[in-house]
């Protein structure tokens, strides 16, 4: 991905083609049998809709109940445009804006329906981002549920436009048309698979996944999740809208019930059972759930002595509810997790490449990081009182002090996570004061966290790669080592395909450092990189930090408690106590400073 974004998409593209052939083949086989041909068409349509859901929910982690609401908008728009004027004059003669006279072909209607739905999606998307939607957020659930309900109520009550809830709008007599085996549905199916699969690999998709894993870290690394989430939303709504228009065409009529809770439950269950992180999983979910649905429907009609309490109407609903609940409890990532068809292809046809790390140290940054007279209070507690810190390129600056001295707060102020009461932060001649963490990260600061924060479900490689993508766009002047060489330098080459959550603590720390380096910062800010490490591990960390800093030509500011580490790595040390800088100098000077000894050992100065 580093050098050639197109080549990177080849395997997923081939994978989509493969997946399409397999799934298309299944549908084709089913269509051949008369009793299954309706079902096959239904499944194709459902696959499209579920893939639409996957694009948004899978990549952003945001639970949306509104997508079927978007489906309803698209379905109604499609029906209102596509039903012939003569039928409309009977069904909705009083439609506003002369809609009753409009006569469009189904294709034109579909395009118009998608366009209208997208306009509404933009508004909803803005609302979502304003509410700070993120993985698992309640705000998003409420806003999307509101959409589902409002659309349903409008459709039920705006009788002039929609003919209300009882009868709904219908196409017949031309509703006899069916999409069975017709090329638009097959084309749409392929497009949906390809779009969903490729989106996962695009820049926007990757960044959205990073924000899904950890919103705060993503921001601190310069990712603006709102942008990626909006892209994912529009793409997914377009796919859902197209699928919904087809659904209405196939059924031949639309009523508010068609796109409400039942269909939401069905499609969400398909997505979640199959595996929401995976396009292959979404498709598998449609197959499994449809099969289960058909099976339970037939079972319900059985008449077996002693089992009539089980084989009865409603068994299908039980199956859906139980499938959703069971998977959430036993296997929340679904059947396939994040496995894709092309992962298998890749492993099958391509041996693992050995690394060719070409990386020479980058020219050291000439910028200077300068925080001046920073004060912060939390309620009555003064966390920082007129603190200051300067760091130059090529320099490792230590920040030590007793617990609660304000070290992490100072780092948080510099990276924009905490707003200071007053004081300035400069990098070179650019002021960072008052900027958002996203902008500060892009201006050339990257940090690690006191309690390790990786993107747990992404692979080791992806953890680095995704931040590399941010750097590629926002740190253009900077010459950067490749993802591969960062991984080799961090000693993580052999684990590169592991999930980050599978790494042990030491490797996790190294990955966090490599990820920060991948941001191509002018300064690396490290918050206790050796906490919880053994002596020998923290000595290794000294070399590790130095290597990374040299590789990307960055200065380092590091907080730590481990005095061996600090004296081993730092050129200069600041000592904080009760929010104030009480000493500054070389490690040797600091260890003899009476004020420092007093702060650390409690001696009277």
């Amino acid at each position: 991905m580093d050098s050639d974004p197109i080549r990177h998409l080849i395997t997923p593209g081939l994978g989509s083609l493969f997946l399409f052939s397999v799934i298309g083949g299944v549908f084709l086989l089913l269509s051949g049998d008369d009793s299954f041909s309706d079902l096959a068409t239904q499944m194709m349509i459902n696959t499209v809709v579920v893939l639409g859901l996957q694009i948004y929910i899978g990549n952003t982690g945001i639970l949306s109940f509104g997508h079927i609401g978007f489906g309803a908008i698209s379905g109604y728009a499609f029906a209102i445009f596509a039903v012939s004027p003569s039928r409309k004059l009977i069904q909705i003669p009083n439609a506003p804006l002369g809609l009753a006279e409009i006569d469009l072909t189904p294709f034109q209607s579909g395009i118009a329906a998608i366009a209208i739905t997208l306009v509404i999606a933009i508004i909803v998307g803005l609302a979502l981002s304003r509410s700070g939607a993120r993985s698992g957020s309640v705000a998003a659930v409420v806003i999307t549920l509101a959409l589902l309900f409002v659309v349903h109520e409008v459709a039920t009550n705006w009788i002039d436009l929609t003919r209300g809830g009882k009868t709904g709008l219908s196409f017949s007599p031309f509703g006899g048309n069916t999409l069975q085996g017709s090329y638009p549905i097959i084309l749409l199916l392929f497009a949906a698979i390809a779009v969903a699969r490729l989106f996962k690999e695009t820049r926007a998709g990757r960044l959205a996944q990073a924000a899904r894993e950890d919103d705060l870290v993503a921001r601190a690394m310069g990712i603006n999740p709102a942008v990626q989430q909006m892209i994912a939303l529009l793409l997914s709504v377009a796919v859902v809208a197209a699928g919904s228009a087809m659904r209405v065409y196939e059924i031949g009529s639309i009523s508010p019930r068609l796109f409400f809770f039942d269909y939401t439950l069905l499609t969400l269950t398909m997505l979640i059972v199959g595996g929401r992180y995976s396009v292959t999983g979404a498709v598998a979910g449609v197959l499994v759930i449809t099969a289960g649905k058909e099976l339970t429907r037939n079972l319900a009609e059985l008449d077996v002595d002693g089992f009539n309490w089980f084989f009865r109407d409603g068994l299908t609903d039980i199956f859906l509810g139980a499938a959703m609940l069971g998977f959430m409890i036993m296997r929340p990532a679904g059947l396939l997790g994040d496995w894709e068809f092309d992962h298998w292809l890749l492993r099958r046809f391509k041996g693992a490449k050995s690394p060719v790390p070409v990386s020479k140290p980058t020219i050291m940054t000439s910028a200077q990081l300068k925080a001046d007279s920073v004060s912060v209070h939390f309620g009555g507690f003064i966390a920082l009182d007129d603190a200051a810190l300067t760091a130059k390129g090529g320099e490792v600056v230590g920040l030590i002090g007793p617990n609660g001295a304000g070290k992490t707060t100072l780092l948080n102020v510099i990276t924009g996570l905490v707003q200071s009461d007053n004081g300035t932060v400069l990098i070179g001649s650019n002021s960072l004061t008052g900027l958002t963490p996203i902008k500060i990260a892009r201006a050339g600061l990257a940090r690690t966290f006191q309690n390790i924060r990786l993107f747990p479900a992404l692979s080791v490689r992806e953890n680095v790669e995704v931040i590399r993508l941010v750097a590629h766009r926002h740190r253009q002047g900077k010459e950067m080592p490749s993802t591969d060489s960062l991984l080799v330098k961090a000693g993580l080459w052999d684990q590169k395909e592991w999930r980050a959550s599978e790494l042990d603590y030491g490797n996790g720390r190294r990955l966090e450092l490599a990820r920060a380096a991948a941001a191509g910062p002018d300064f690396l800010l490290l918050d206790e990189p050796t906490s919880g490490m053994s002596d020998s591990e923290s000595i290794d960390m000294i070399a590790q930090v130095r290597t990374m800093a040299e590789l990307i030509g960055a200065g380092v500011v590091v907080i730590d408690h481990d005095l061996n580490f600090i004296t081993g790595i730092c050129d200069r040390v600041y000592v904080l106590d009760q929010g104030r800088v009480i000493a500054e100098g070389s490690p040797a000077e600091i260890s003899n400073n009476p004020l420092v000894l007093a702060a650390y050992l409690g001696e009277k100065a």
């Binding site: 982690g61 509410s131 698992g136 309640v138 039980i318 929340p332 996570l417 918050d527």
Partner: protein, 295 residues
């Protein structure tokens, strides 16, 4: 002026029920960080129980206390069957689990009773009105308001004065620390469900007196109202949830009486939209609860 007072009393009556539901949801959110979208199922189960109890000839005086017990037991069962297993899981998993319970309970009733609504007699005497000056007061509204206030007072005392209440609040404040201090997590969570079940049971009695019917989706509307009220209150805050309930009741009554009849069918949608807007412009709820993420 009289009209407004009348509407405020109506709104408080409505809001009292919402407050009880929202408080139960907030209590569970406090100990588990779970937004219980299955809270309405307590009402569904209560509704079917009342239908059955009526069919064997009991009347409201006996049914009311039984319903409270039914709701309590249901809450404990749901915790045992579903929520126990996803404790500490990511928010996404917990949200979907509660929706899963919601759909599963609905399906069970569709399967074993019917998809159609069943009617049972409403206690007509409680909807009788009497006049005070210009005001037309329903016994129902006054009963709801009084019982709600008594319940809230009892809950308050329970939470403030008893060991159970203190451990519950401690767990709601910081679950891990509370555990380390020797509070038994299983017991606290189970008691939270018991409390939320009792509150929902009391709300169910009033709700069912008004609706007089049982159906698989009977719990949907009260669940949504409860969740919305808890959200208005900022979720983490118990007093916020109660206030949120009353605010929601008042807003609904005022909307219903002010909206032109052509869009009166949209009341629920408009309420929903207002809440969504609240989230857009004030993501932390009406009453903000500070969630500071340590980094």
């Amino acid at each position: 002026m009289t009209e407004l007072i009348q509407q405020i009393i109506d709104g408080l009556g409505r809001g009292g029920i919402y407050a009880l539901l929202a408080l139960g949801i907030a209590v569970i959110f406090g100990v588990m960080h779970l937004i219980n979208f299955a809270h309405g199922e307590l009402i569904t189960v209560s509704a079917y129980s009342s239908y059955w109890l009526f069919s064997i000839g009991l009347d409201w005086w006996l049914i009311a206390p039984i319903i409270v017990v039914v709701a309590l037991v249901t809450a404990v069962i749901i915790e045992f069957v579903a929520f126990r297993w996803v404790r500490g899981a990511p928010d996404f998993t917990m949200l979907m689990t509660s929706f899963g319970v919601h759909f599963l309970v609905q399906a069970l009733f569709v399967m074993y009773v019917s998809a159609n609504f069943r009617q049972f007699p409403r206690p007509e005497w409680i909807f009788a009105t009497f006049r005070v000056g210009q005001l037309n007061l329903e016994i129902y509204d006054l009963t709801v308001i009084v019982i709600t206030l008594l319940t809230l007072l009892a809950t308050y005392l329970l939470l403030q004065r008893t060991m159970f209440g203190i451990s519950l609040r401690a767990a709601a404040e910081d679950f891990d620390t509370a555990r380390l201090m020797g509070i038994r997590s299983n017991r606290v969570i189970r008691s939270a469900f018991v409390l939320s079940g009792v509150l929902a049971g009391i709300a169910a009695v009033f709700w069912l007196m008004r609706s007089g019917q049982a159906g698989p989706t009977a719990g949907l509307s009260p669940m949504l109202k409860g969740v919305l009220a808890a959200l208005i209150g900022g979720l983490g805050s118990l007093s916020g949830a109660v206030l949120g309930g009353f605010v929601l009741g008042l807003v609904e009554v005022l909307l219903i009486s002010r909206l032109p009849s052509s869009i009166a069918g949209l009341t629920d949608g408009i309420v929903f939209l207002l809440i969504a807007l609240l989230f857009v412009f004030r993501p932390q709820g009406l009453i903000s609860v500070k969630h500071v993420e340590r980094v």
